[in-house]
Symmetry: C2
């Protein structure tokens, strides 16, 4: 093993990246299953959209997709209902210690969140600062402020970590649920958060 | 062409089936795009879930899915927000003139609709009676009644067309929007429908 340090390093790096890439999403899905099981909320992840080009039928009634491509989602990944309120959010991760780059977010996702908010939904991002090891619920209003300002003269292309400390809400981490983000949303519903 | 009557007949039948199979879903999607464009509601179809088994990378950064299978959706196909209310529904078609078979509906879809209703959402089916050429919004409450009763002694395995006439709401058909189902939902929100 000591003979292949570069190969080994690469493999480890790839493995870590894959795990990290899945963690936030699967932690939220585990949390959602828990919420559903205790009757607290009904929130699901939407399937990843796939453009199917070619399907074969090796057996009767069993379609095998043999050519397909991932499509860019036209909305956010998660939505559902909590205490009678429509909830809509996406999950984002960053390796940065100092800010979340706005390029992590698709323009049509922001557009979608704005539309849902306009109709009375609760919209936010769950942001994981991987190297800090913490998670925030970033209210849509704060996201929109930085998003709309980025094209202006002094607009920055990222949301500083400081803004998360001051204007987002840290998500309690636990075993069950893993990321208790609805605890933060309670503040919205009773009016103590915006 | 007159030489291959069977082949021709088969082809026409397949084409018709495919068109009919897509129509209700695409009519609802067109309606949803119209609602979104005039700012009336934000309602989207969820992508069809696909289990990806194998992916190749013929070019950098371009994943080509070469083996995948359709999965049974764990929820309904459509959800969104209208007048601040969470909306959740599925679309069903039937060729029957007399009833909609309950086997058209997956048990987990009914379970999902019940959960959403429990949390205060507006839940229903949009049902197309293809040979009558009409469309109904069937309230979740009516669906649940027939669904729960089907296992009892005199329970039937379908919802009769008569029940649609008496207890569902016919959807106005037009050019834009094609299926104005939110007109029916208005009755829910102002309390004149259940």
């Amino acid at each position: 093993m000591i003979d292949y340090p570069i190969k080994r390093k690469n493999r480890i790096k790839q493995t870590n990246y894959a795990n990290l890439g899945m963690t936030l999403e699967s932690d939220i899905e585990q949390t959602n299953r828990y919420y559903l099981s205790i009757g607290r909320a009904v929130i699901h992840k939407k399937p990843t959209p796939v453009q199917v080009v070619n399907v074969s039928y090796p057996a009767r009634n069993k379609a095998k997709i043999i050519e397909a491509y991932y499509k860019t989602p036209s909305t956010t990944d998660f939505n559902g209902i909590y205490k009678g309120r429509h909830i809509d959010f996406d999950a984002k991760e960053t390796n940065s210690l100092t800010s979340m780059p706005l390029k992590n977010i698709h323009p049509h996702q922001v557009e979608h969140l704005k539309e849902v908010r306009h109709h009375g939904g609760i919209v936010f991002l769950i942001v994981s600062f991987k190297r800090h090891g913490n998670y925030f619920v970033l209210p849509g209003t704060v996201l929109f402020e930085y998003w709309d300002r980025q094209t202006s003269e002094n607009g920055r292309k990222s949301i500083p970590y400081r803004a998360f400390i001051e204007r987002a809400y840290e998500v309690p981490i636990g075993y069950q649920p893993r990321l208790d983000y609805l605890k933060v949303i309670d503040g919205w519903i009773d009016g103590t958060n915006r």
